[in-house]
Assembly symmetry: C2
Homo-oligomer: 467 residues x 2
């Protein structure tokens, strides 16, 4: 017995896919992913319509799906992140039904709890055997962790593995096991390696980002959490990455050995593991080749599922043990609500990903952001979209100072004691307005909801209107 | 946050366990397991009664549970195997409700499908961290694979991990992940290492076993399945082990490289992996220290879950790709039905384990057994208990010849062509009777059912009456 289908079309037909169903994808190949596009093209050619796509994230490489939205092949989208290319089209009204935005933690939770359902999951697999055992660790399209894809395989009624590196059964060191896979399809390429991962992680040279990062690192140190056993997550954005670098310097100086680093992982975090600054990495997504190599070879660099990463209904998560998380923002308001879904004009340009999850879980949630970008203030009266509620945010670090959430007076005191530039968030907003000019009051026509933003417990956090 | 309970009693109380519920255990510590006994003792002391125990297997080290059956603390038992000590007591009527016997494959299937439910799972864990990540690979009580325990953790309403080797969070190279664990309890010892695994695997010296094994290996060779890519499972019993040894000689002579070995794994199978006779081992249970060490250090020696091993509702299993399986029998009848549940007097002395599963799945199922044991014939008119239906059995190999299932005429022909001593199973039975004297007709009082034997699809295969 083999699960090998003769072609993608054969596998789709065998899966029983029909109009109105829900299909799913993972985003480990990021903007280099070919699989979502190739599956939608095939489905369109087969005349199947009115599908909902449930994808852990949508990247700019998925822009061809806009045509399938126009033609009615895709009428619904449930995801945790949408890059600007597809986001703009959706903001302009291309998709029939409003997007449902979840978080990296609530997506697996909703699937496991049966709140959302997948009829057919399509898994891009850098290596697979004919029975569907598969991994992202090896192969020409290696992406490292398949953390977000486990739940798709486990919960979908049918699971199709699509690979460009078919090996003999049994694949050892698999990530997703054959007991969850129905069909295997071999194709020439599942992605463009240049888009899947970046070759190396680069530290920012932008002096503003560096200044923010240095201040953030000093503030984290002042919080008292930077001690033996500390755990943290930083993003791959410039200021976050630079913050990790400054934290590293402090840890080296003070001989602090951390417990684990979490999240999307860069080579920079791998270096910290290898230099003994952490005991382990819990990796739900690799961002560069060094992270892929480390996940493959170092048992202390662990692949974890999205559920273990941050599911609000898991019995515990790696996020739940986090001390410090450093995150970005496209906007943050006077109540510390953070927007990572829309730009200043209201166009969809992102999504929570794990932002809302780890902010809710960590002992200390630090937002790093410049006061303005391209003359648009980041600190505003009220964010256009609430992605992460202000109650989850402990402080904002900008190049002009730090604002501490009033709910954390002891933190404010600790930073002041350390002679850090603590400001009221209102002061920072006023400063932003002074520098950039008061922002024009945006008129949002509230006639069409294009997306609903769910909090990690499934409640409605906000809605996004068409532009 | 930590899941560490101050004591076992504290964890039991926190779990909400109350009268009439179902608790579960795995059997990776085999007869050396302390956990089942310590949990039942504590539960009894807390005054909780009328529990069903769902355990993957019950070994003789669990004999203290007989007292808890007498006192009404335990009134039900669902399991895949019961060793003679507890088996005899159940056959004599100590347990209130009939045992439900499943197989190693149908147990996880029934749990995953919701056919059976666990309220509180107690997991003996050779190493765990305070959040419940755990493994059997390391620690003073290391048992290797935790294959049978995954489903308990995943499906139980509450999961309690009990360990004698607590390590810092996060344990790397874990087997069962924290997202499935509610409480962690630290104890002095979870088991007696001498009972958990044997130090080494010993080849039998019994000339009858060796003769059976050699004939079985020649028959497997003659079947045409012993070629590059062959996969097989052999048990740890003498004749099975010796069959593996003879197969190894043939593979070496003919330069055959197999695909994978499956099942409960011994050092002998590890040697075959290391000598390049297999590409991989799929291990649901380690039988000796060499297997534990190999599982810990060799990525080609893979820990698999019981579902992946043999669940009839998994999308595929390792058992499903098996070519050859070599199994034992306490009785086999003229229809090739095999009994591994009861002895010749009708006492419970075992159970299917994975016998029924792999026999149903493999291309070639070979039963190796002497014609008689202690003057009791093995080949009988009708087995006392049907454990594995004759339709799953392809041939019986004894020291006096091979009987081929009439449903496999092409196999019979192949063996005859190879000049192997093919007999009719009736001839073998007659020979057994001639040597041992015709067996006394056993009178079974059919007044009390002490166990129900389910086939892997949940249908009733047979019942076992009290003795």
């Amino acid at each position: 017995m083999s699960k090998l289908a003769g072609s993608l079309r054969e596998a789709i037909a065998a899966s029983g896919l029909r109009d109105g169903m829900c299909i799913s994808f993972h985003h480990h190949l990021r903007s280099g992913d070919y699989v979502l596009n190739m599956v939608l093209d095939e489905i369109a050619a087969m005349g199947i319509r009115d599908l909902t796509v449930n994808a852990s994230s949508i990247h700019d490489g998925h822009a061809p799906m806009i045509e399938h939205m126009k033609s009615g092949v895709v009428t619904g989208l449930e995801t945790n992140y949408i890059g600007p290319a597809v986001g703009r089209a959706i903001s302009e009204g291309v998709l029939k039904n409003p997007v449902i935005f979840r978080t990296h933690g609530s997506r697996p939770s909703d699937l496991e709890q049966g709140v959302s359902k997948i009829d057919v999951a399509f898994l891009a697999a850098p290596t697979a055997d004919p029975m569907g055992n598969c991994t992202g660790k090896i192969g020409k399209s290696a992406c490292g962790s398949l953390g977000y894809a486990f739940v798709d395989a486990q919960c979908a009624a049918k699971t199709v593995v699509i690979t460009d590196n078919l090996v003999d059964y049994p694949l050892y060191d698999w990530s997703i096991s054959e007991d969850f896979v129905d069909y295997v399809v071999q194709v020439d390429a599942i992605g463009d390696p240049r888009g899947i991962v970046s070759g190396t992680t680069r530290m920012p040279k932008d002096p503003i980002a560096l200044r923010i990062a240095q201040t953030a690192a000093r503030a984290i140190d002042a919080s008292g959490l930077l001690k033996d056993g500390v755990s943290f997550q930083t993003g791959a954005g410039g200021a976050s990455l630079a913050t990790a670098d400054f934290l590293k310097q402090i840890m080296l100086e003070k001989h602090i050995k951390g417990s684990y680093a979490l999240g999307g992982i860069t080579g920079y975090i791998v270096d910290m593991l290898n230099e003994g600054l952490f005991e382990a990495i819990q990796d739900v997504q690799c961002f560069d080749l060094k992270a892929v190599e480390s996940l493959r070879t170092n048992p202390r660099h662990m692949e974890i599922t999205a559920s273990r990463y941050a599911s609000p209904t898991a019995k515990s998560t790696a996020a739940g043990s986090l001390d410090v998380v450093v995150l970005g923002a496209t906007q943050i308001d006077l109540d510390f609500n953070v927007n990572v879904h829309t730009d200043s004009k209201g166009y969809i340009i992102g999504g929570s990903g794990g932002h809302t999850d780890v902010a809710a879980c960590a002992k200390l949630t630090v937002i790093v952001a410049p006061l303005s970008r391209a003359r648009m203030p980041i600190v505003v009266d009220r964010v256009l979209t609430v992605s992460t509620p202000g109650s989850s945010v402990d402080m904002l670090v900008t190049q002009y100072g730090i604002a501490v959430n009033p709910a954390r007076p002891e933190l404010k005191e600790a930073l002041q004691k350390a002679h850090l530039p603590v400001k009221d968030i209102g002061e920072l907003k006023a400063l932003a307005d002074k520098i950039n000019g008061a922002p024009k009051k945006r008129e949002i026509k509230k006639d069409r909801i294009v997306a609903k933003v769910q909090n990690r417990d499934g409640s409605l956090l906000d809605v996004i209107y068409g532009v």
